[in-house]
């Protein structure tokens, strides 16, 4: 459970190669960390985001477990947590985006034992991608395939230079691929966005500016042009903010590409419902595959959100918003999403796995969360989780723990513990709670059998 502390000579900095970075969806696996005692002092190959994440690592001392704000033993914490979950009539397990897939798997199993709802994501945009996947599917590939084959790179309303700093240099634009010996010179990059972003300035061969509310009309225009449907030029320009000729040019380029890839942004634009956008993108790419080879990929953020979606899908059949309250998995987009369950006041206990998934909750959901017993697994000593009913300090994901993390193209990569921690991993805590919940359930059953 708690990791073994290695004893190194005091002054010998050591280097660990091929470390996996979880700062963004690229999940780069070529980082070289320089370590001195229990600190990280350098991160070669890492981008600014990755470096910041590694250098910010400070092992903070403190109790491993707090029950109602007071230090407690690990066993007491597990006992209390197990009772909260077993006694709850509609518990919710959520977060899961910043932990290993091994821990996510135990969390889903625990949800099954206690009849909980389990949800990884509380972002509407991710719900929209999931819905698109369920209704129209997705033509996609790995980043390796993009690196070796993609001669046309389209970025749809995203700014990878800021959000995924090594996407272009490591996979999508700069590298020489098997079929692209010229590297950057063999590729064409078009960016469609509502503003001129850093990516546009630094990487784009072509920038197409669209109106704030013209996104779906732009996608519909491209779909129509791909299918050879005539459109009214003035209507297109009014709706998208860009002349039809520009869209025709982009369509010709897409159809003419040997292998195209479309990366799209995962963050919602404005407050308006964006369900239709991922749907339209997936349909466009499906249409394009009648003319050439084309794939698409959402630019997912850091942590292991893709892992959470995958683990939940192979454990329950659904990628998010699953209720196991009836004893079998039931999927309810909108119905079983964490913010909905909390906002409507239905959940009566919560287990929050990973650092701070609460920041995106609605105000009502946060308010309700404060009223119900909650168990928080968190690697930081500070923050909103301090007043949790039971708080477990855990080892830092990606630095202190072994496990699996999914890259944004759903390729699983192993993470290794580069530094030891005195705190247990999330997987360890969840396993202990699961074991106790199961023995409570068995005791319950025995009592009932005796009663009969």
């Amino acid at each position: 459970m708690s990791a073994v502390v290695e004893h190194e000579p005091a002054s010998a900095p050591r280097v660990v190669e091929d470390v996996v970075c979880t700062a963004c969806g690229c999940v780069c696996d070529d980082i070289e960390l320089q370590l001195e005692r229990d600190r990280i002092i350098g991160a070669r190959n890492a981008c600014a985001m990755g470096t910041a994440r590694f250098l910010a690592y400070r092992p903070e001392p403190g109790p491993a477990c707090l029950v109602e704000g007071r230090p407690a033993t690990f066993a007491d914490g597990v006992e209390r947590a197990a009772h909260i979950l077993a006694d709850a009539r509609y518990p919710l397990i959520f977060g899961l985006a910043d932990t290993t897939s091994e821990a996510q798997r135990v969390a889903v199993s625990l949800a099954d034992w206690v009849g909980a709802c389990v949800d990884s994501t509380i972002l509407e945009a991710h719900g929209a991608m999931t819905a698109a996947l369920q209704s129209v599917g997705q033509v996609t590939s790995t980043l390796g395939e993009v690196r070796n084959r993609a001669d046309l790179v389209i970025v749809w309303r995203a700014d990878p230079i800021e959000s995924h700093p090594r996407l272009f240099s490591r996979y999508a634009l700069d590298p020489r691929g098997n079929f692209l010996p010229g590297g950057r010179g063999d590729r064409y990059c078009a960016i469609v966005d509502v503003r001129e972003s850093a990516s546009v300035r630094e990487a784009a061969d072509e920038f197409i500016c669209i109106k704030q509310d013209g996104e779906s009309d732009a996608l519909w225009t491209l779909r129509a042009l791909t299918r050879g449907i005539e459109l009214d030029p003035s209507a297109v320009e009014t709706a998208t903010g860009t002349p039809l000729a520009i869209w025709q040019g982009l369509t010709d380029r897409m159809i003419g590409a040997k292998y195209g890839v479309l990366f799209y942004g995962a963050e919602p634009l404005g407050t308006r419902r964006r369900l239709a956008i991922p749907h339209a993108i997936h349909l466009l790419v499906r249409d394009l595959n009648e003319r050439t080879r084309f794939v698409c990929m959402p630019l997912r953020g850091g942590g292991n959100l893709v892992g959470a979606l995958n683990v939940m899908a192979w454990c329950t059949g659904y990628p998010a918003a699953v209720s196991l309250a009836g004893g079998y998995p039931r999927h309810g987009p909108g119905e079983f999403h964490a913010d909905g369950l909390l906002g409507s006041g239905q959940a009566d206990a919560a287990l929050i796995v990973s650092d701070d998934p609460t920041s995106r909750l609605t105000a009502e959901a946060k308010e309700h969360l404060e009223r119900i017993p909650r168990i928080v697994l968190c690697s930081e000593a500070s923050g909103a989780s301090r007043d949790a009913t039971v708080l477990f300090r855990t080892a830092v994901f990606g630095i202190n723990t072994d496990g699996t993390v999914y890259r944004m193209d759903a390729v699983p990569l192993p993470t290794r513990a580069v530094l030891a921690s005195s705190f247990p991993s999330e997987e360890g805590v969840l396993r202990a709670i699961e074991r106790r919940v199961r023995s409570l359930g068995a005791a319950d059953r025995d009592a009932r059998t005796e009663g009969e």
């Binding site: 709850a88 009539r89 509609y90 518990p91 206690v114 009849g115 909980a116 819905a131 369920q134 209704s135 779906s216 009309d217 519909w220 225009t221 779909r223 129509a224 299918r227 449907i229 459109l231 009214d232 209507a235 297109v236 009014t238 709706a239 419902r273 369900l275 239709a276 339209a280 349909l283 196991l324 309250a325 009836g326 999927h331 309810g332 987009p333 909108g334 119905e335 006041g345 239905q346 009566d348």
Partner: protein, 276 residues
Amino acid sequence: MALSLRQSARTSLPVSVEGVIPERLRDKSIGEIERREILHGNRRIPLAELFRVSGDPSDGRIDFEGEPLRCHHIGRRMSGGEIVVHGDAGHHPGAEMSGGKIRLEGNAGDWLGAEMKGGLIEVSGSADRRIGSAYPGSRRGMTDGTILVRGDAGDDVGTSMRRGLVAVGGGCGDGVGSGMIAGTILVLGSCGEHIGAEMRRGTIGIFGADPTRLLLTFRRAGQFRPLFLRLIARELARLGFPLPPGLCEDELTLYHGDLLSLGKGEIWLRDDGGTR
């Protein structure tokens, strides 16, 4: 005399009354009905813990009474008889029903009549998202039957519907009739965006005064007075859902689409101000 289920306890947890439908209770005694299990949070409890059961189930009518519990799955998969809800309903009322009638004297949550196959649902208040729609991963939404909502409706009304009629007295959110295969949706108020996106066949009538933005892949076909609307109006009047006076005499503007799909769908607009 109908079977009355009067709420006798308050709860903040979700209650699912799946299986509490006329055909399953018709030949049961009050005692048997009281012992029937429903899902309360994550526990199965006897119906009598939350409801006072009285009356007679043999005539095939069930009345939900008392404080609105917002029960989920009311009338799910029912094939006959009648359910009356004196208050609000939760999610999935009348989902997958194949016959009979549900009358909601209040509001409904999401998935009202989702994938229904027949029968009639009347809602006196408003309904939330995905009325008569297809569940995630399904190819078809409602395949027959009638849904009448007097108030407003949320997003995605009639997604991938295959047959049947949905009429909304107020306005609708985005995505009305998206992916529609056939059937009819009439909206007396105004609508959001993405109307009929990917629709193959079927009719969406939007009779609100607000100008509506259509997708670029719809084509204006002209103006007409559809005879078909008179037949629907007569049927709706019989069901107690009269269309506004003069609507059947008005010239409607017809649009065809979605050209990205089959393109045989129709959108009718009454007020064509500002629409392309």
